[in-house]
Symmetry: C2
Subunit: 228 residues, 2 copies
DNA sequence: GCAATGCTTCGGTTACGATCGAAGTATGAA
DNA sequence: TTCATACTTCGATCGTAACCGAAGCATTGC
């Protein structure tokens, strides 16, 4: 007994419904204030404050003071991956929420996962990139090809810039709704930013879902075709 | 709020120290009885029984009756991966146990992770396989090469048999002690079995650690050299 | 300066769940 | 049959942590 790292601590941190809701909301990548997170968790600000303090002490959250606000974000991408992987696991076991809710279909279609595109569209994009030879896939690993680099340049993404960052360029992330991989890493982030910049899609206020405009939808589907 | 799968439930399941200890013990791959698990968790059998019932209801455990014993195991490999990934995360945040303990060094050197080799030796083995060209690595993904297949045949592992199983042949698994990848999947399992069969190493009674014999140690290090 | 907003800290209540003793069920051994 | 072992269920206790009202800081705006 007492072997290895202490998983009970972080399990307990995630194990409270209010905290889990806050973490899930922060997986949206946006920095949120304590008051907003209290709303997400369905609790008062006082209670939220103690929860947030615990999460920060546990290394899951980071906070940034700005004026009289305090913006909370996930500490880093590793936390986002942990949350998303737990979601994948929970979805696989049928630990779904009681009511699917009206927002559910939009979430399944396209949502943000920390800073990249997830859901049906995220999976489709990666599939298409692999099919077109832009990305090589070996097992769970992904690597950008020369062809991919050229193609991306054409739509306005400079891979050279991305390579300079310490963060891995390509990374696969298991999608909880599709149960298949989508593209994470700095390239995944750059692609989503690109779509948002072009006005193809926009983020919604209080949800993780991403709404494509009709025109953006058309462009996206044309850019990432599936031959089936 | 209330978006996506319910991670709080499984978080809470893992969040109790007694349950976390039991799960960690079961990551050793061995089926354990309720009484043994009670010892691991440091609680009475009654308490353990209720914990085990909850874990089973949550889909984390499976049980098998045999005579008057009940053997518990992790429900499947996905659970093992979740536990190990949480250990990796916890180790990265410094959520280590209070006292490193005497068994710690042995665990770090070589231990079992569900059914394959982990720890320093596990990482070394994968590094060596990649360096020798037996395994291709792209990002986090791993694939056996033709050369690798031949080499393995020579030490008595028939890859053809392994391929027929539904389980992936190669899979990378993040090692919590080394913070680097080691080899999982059916090939990882086959390799460990091979070492045990040859008498190079043996499993210990109540721990996850794996003890190499002096001769086994020599053979292992010779088979998987590191040029550095 | 004063009021308003955003958040934290304090204090006290409450509820849930972990815990164990004791009793109950099942299997095996004598 | 009787006893022993392995485990579960019941009942009751107890501790902890989630929770909120109220008060206390800090920052901004007027």
């Amino acid at each position: 007994m007492k072997e290895g790292p202490d998983i009970a601590q972080i399990g307990a941190l995630i194990g409270d419904p209010a905290r889990a809701n806050m973490l899930a909301a922060l997986t949206g990548g946006r920095a949120l204030t304590a008051t907003e997170l209290a709303g997400v968790g369905g609790i008062t600000v006082q209670t939220a404050s103690t929860h947030l303090a615990k999460l920060e002490a546990g290394g899951l959250l980071a906070q940034r003071k700005q004026g009289r606000h305090r913006y909370f974000t996930l500490a880093d991408e590793a936390v986002a991956r942990l949350i998303e992987s737990m979601m994948g696991f929970a979805a696989g076991r049928g630990h779904l929420r009681h009511q699917p809710g009206p927002k559910e279909p939009a979430l399944r279609k396209a949502r943000i996962c920390y800073d990249h595109l997830a859901g049906d569209y995220g999976v489709r994009m990666l599939d298409s990139l692999i099919a077109s030879g832009s990305i090589d896939a070996v097992g769970d690993g992904l690597a950008l090809t020369e062809k991919g680099e050229n193609d991306l340049q054409r739509i306005g993404i400079d891979v050279g810039d991305l390579r300079s960052s310490r963060r891995p360029l390509c990374r696969s992330c298991l999608d909880w709704s599709e149960r298949r991989a989508h593209l994470a890493g700095s390239l995944g982030k750059a692609l989503l930013s690109n779509f948002l910049d072009k006005g193809w899609a926009r983020r919604t206020a209080e949800s993780r879902s991403i709404l494509f405009t009709p025109e953006g939808d058309r462009q996206f589907l044309m850019l990432f075709p599936i031959d089936a």
